[in-house]
């Protein structure tokens, strides 16, 4: 996809005046800003409402209702949620799951994308189907047989207490990698298709090996897409709770999402406390995003690359 190709597209429509006119867009800009500001605020309302709720004591909202002016605002619910839910422990579990899973998923997906886009093999279409269609499967479709499989696969004692893949952090990493690699392969191959083949062919002429082409030529070009996918993957894996329900039986190995579940009682639920807990569990992904926002958005070049 090149600029010229796009320019020729613009020639087609009769009414298009590509470059014309002065900057009289000022009023339009203001309208746009007002629109965006209002929309953005509207988008934030649910979270802001949760924050407001979380800062108020349960007894006060019970007597005055949730829609009332506060007489007390404090962080007590956050302190209680932190202490009652065992959050630091679960957070560490999730780090142990998410970090290796994200790295492995990106590595393996880039391998497949590299093969299917850079080498013309008969099975490319089949491979892409396997990965892309695999990405469509709902988690529920595979969970029962997967559980049986995890009971059958043995692991050395360093990785598993019971000698099985079941109830291990390793097992969770594996299924995250397998399950997410479909989407990543799809996106990365979409992206890699746009890398000009000339680069690779020149390397081949110079006698580069497949591994060298991958690691020295292709991989550096993938950085933006990989950065963006890493952010998305971190968010998804951090927030997933489904696999652990069936594949983990030890409460101490549960991921962060179960810290939140620990807070909502069976017979008594303090919404204010749960709100505080919910917001606390959201903090890590928000931090990651705001720290990496610049790289994330500028790196997100999922579509065609300029030639």
């Amino acid at each position: 996809m090149t600029a010229t190709a796009l320019a020729s597209d613009t020639a087609r429509p009769s009414g298009a005046h590509p470059v014309s006119g002065k900057r009289r867009a000022r009023p339009a800009r203001i309208v746009l800003h007002v629109f965006l500001a209002v929309s953005a605020l509207a988008w934030l309302v649910p979270m802001l409402w949760a924050i407001y709720t979380s800062l108020r004591p349960y007894s006060e909202t019970q007597s005055k209702g949730y829609l009332s002016l506060p007489s007390t605002l404090n962080f007590q619910n956050y302190i209680d949620a932190w202490n009652q839910s065992g959050m630091p422990h679960y957070f560490w579990n999730t780090v142990m799951i998410a970090v290796p899973a994200v790295i492995l998923t990106l590595l393996l997906s880039s391998f497949v994308a590299f093969t299917v886009t850079q080498y013309n093999l008969k099975i490319n279409l089949l491979l892409l189907m396997i990965f892309t269609a695999g990405n469509l499967l709902p988690q529920q479709v595979i969970i029962t047989p997967l559980y049986r499989l995890y009971l059958l696969i043995g692991l050395p004692s360093g990785l598993s207490d019971s000698g099985k893949m079941y109830d291990t952090i390793f097992g969770l990493v594996v299924i995250h990698v397998a399950f997410q690699s479909g989407f990543c392969t799809f996106v990365l191959s979409n992206y890699m298709k746009t890398i000009p083949t000339g680069l690779r062919e020149a390397a081949v002429v110079d006698g580069a090996t497949v591994w060298q082409i991958y690691s020295r030529i292709i991989l550096p070009l993938l950085k933006p897409a990989v950065a963006a996918l890493a952010t998305l993957l971190s968010i998804w894996i951090y927030n997933d709770f489904f696999w652990a329900i069936v594949l983990i039986s030890d409460g101490n190995k549960m991921p962060i999402t179960s810290a939140l579940a620990n807070l909502s009682g069976t017979f008594f639920t303090n919404d204010n406390l749960v709100a505080a807990g919910a917001l606390l569990t959201a903090v890590p992904t928000l931090l990651v995003y705001f720290l990496l926002q610049r790289q994330f958005v500028s790196g997100l070049t999922l579509g065609a690359e300029k030639g």
Binding site: S59, Q62, Q84, P145, Y147, R148, L151, L152, S162, G163, K164, Y166, D167, A244, I245, V246, L247, S249, D250, G251, N252, M254, S258, A261, N262, G265, T266, F267, F268, T269
Partner: protein, 444 residues
């Protein structure tokens, strides 16, 4: 039809291999005495492991993730360990919902030695499936602590014991004494009295019956009460066990009575959480609320709690009167291949004693003990009244989702009861739909 297993699972031999592996694993990590206990558990008859000296670690899977029950259960384990210094209880707590959602996969894989569970068909199901170990030896020791009704609740369908109870909580109609006093209401004992009380409350601007079914189980509670009052305990259990037909006129009669009192229910119940219905009782906007005694946990102010009282659901058919109550019992079971059976049995024996139940109730006063002759002097008013209600009942049911096939209650009854609540007029077709699906589930 002959059983055919998909190739992926390689037939039944897998099970044996897993079991073998489990045994080997146990042998690998555990010391010699444990190995002896282990082999005794796998033999057909559970020989008396209780006499010998039990020691080592007992693992225990718990669904008590809420702060208060968690503390109360820990008090039980602490009291046990103080009595048996050579045994350590290692607790694996998961949040309540996750525990329930994963119970099947958990019990088949690498369960803890002992796990928390519920009495009723729900317990018998796992016993029948071989996912739990019989504990007749434990009951040899604790049998005298309990009345016959509790013995029956703790047995599997094969007549062996599989369950040790720790507490129960009855369902009843809750009200505020001050509200009844202010309007001169009296506690109704029969259907007509109940209806006219609802009428009076409505005239006084109250929601006669607080109600909420967003959680999907409260409607089952109403059904159970009505069915036991109209058709008696035995028919109710037959229906729960899939033996009676949902298209029976007797079932229709239950819904007819329900439809009669439905206009007195607090409107908007489909999307309401039970906690919010409880709040309406607390705020004196509703007059009565049919629920378990755990409703008291919403009454966080001691004055409000002192004002809370309850009565047994009124009689409908004099043949049955008020002879049955619904009182779910929670307790413990032994997993299929416990690593340390001797110590686990010791723990279960302790739980099934006045000391064990007392250790719990000292921390959490939401429930009642099941042990005969338990010292009730420490009970609050609700607990005392619960004990009277329990003692007066001839039959004790558990709850629809504990008495019936769980696949049936969660995939059929919950949505169908809500369909009824949304559209009471279509009860005929709803009941035939239930019966069709019941046959598909119970006969498969």
């Amino acid at each position: 039809m002959s059983p055919q297993s998909p190739r992926a699972f390689q037939g039944p031999s897998v099970d044996r291999r897993i079991m073998l592996k489990g045994l080997l694993g146990a042998a690998g990590v555990a010391a010699l005495p444990t190995l002896a206990a282990c082999s005794s558990s796998s033999s057909k008859s559970s020989s008396s492991s209780t006499g010998g000296a039990a020691s080592g670690t007992v693992s225990l899977g718990s669904n008590a993730s809420d702060a208060v029950p968690k503390k109360a259960f820990q008090a039980v384990y602490d009291a046990f360990q103080a009595k048996n210094p050579s045994i350590k209880v290692q607790v694996n707590t998961k949040d309540h919902d996750t525990f329930q959602e994963q119970i099947n996969s958990y019990l088949q894989a690498t369960p803890d030695d002992v796990f928390t569970w519920f009495a009723g068909y729900r317990m018998q199901f796992f016993a029948a499936k071989g996912l739990s170990n019989k504990i007749n030896d434990v009951w040899d020791t604790i049998g005298n602590n309990f009345p016959q009704s509790v013995h029956d609740l703790s047995k599997g369908q094969d007549g062996n014991y599989y369950f040790v109870p720790i507490y129960y909580y009855p369902w009843a109609v809750f009200y505020r004494k001050s509200v009844f006093a202010a309007h001169n209401y009296t506690v109704p004992t029969d259907w007509n009295g109940f209806i006219s009380l609802c009428e009076k409350m409505k005239a006084d601007g109250l929601n006669p019956i607080a109600f909420a079914d967003a959680d999907k189980w409260p409607a089952m509670g109403t059904f159970d009460q009505l069915n036991m009052r109209i058709n008696g305990y035995q028919f109710h259990m037959d229906l729960m066990h899939g033996k009676a037909a949902w298209t029976d006129a007797k079932v229709k009669a239950v819904f007819d009575h329900w439809t009669q009192i439905l206009p007195y229910h607090q409107p908007g119940y489909i999307g309401r959480k039970w906690q919010d219905a409880a709040q309406s009782l607390l705020q004196k906007k509703s007059g009565m609320y049919l629920l378990g005694t755990f409703v008291a946990q919403q009454f966080t102010n001691p004055d409000d709690l002192a004002d809370l009282d309850f009565f047994a659901f009124p009689a409908i058919d004099p043949q049955w009167g008020q002879d049955s109550i619904e009182a779910p019992v929670d307790g413990f079971m032994l997993s299929k291949n416990p690593k340390n059976r001797a110590a686990a049995a010791k723990l279960l024996e302790f739980i099934g004693s006045a000391d064990g139940e007392g250790a719990y109730l000292k921390v959490d006063n939401s429930y009642d003990a099941l042990v005969t002759g338990y010292d009730t002097s420490g009970y609050n008013a609700i607990q005392k009244k619960s004990a009277q209600l329990f003692a007066s009942a001839q039959h004790v049911s558990q709850f629809m989702d504990r008495d019936a096939n769980p696949a049936f209650t969660s995939t059929v009854m919950q949505p169908q009861l809500q369909a009824y609540l949304q559209n009471p007029g279509s009860i005929g077709s709803i009941l035939s739909g239930i019966e069709q699906q019941k046959q598909s589930i119970y006969n498969s």
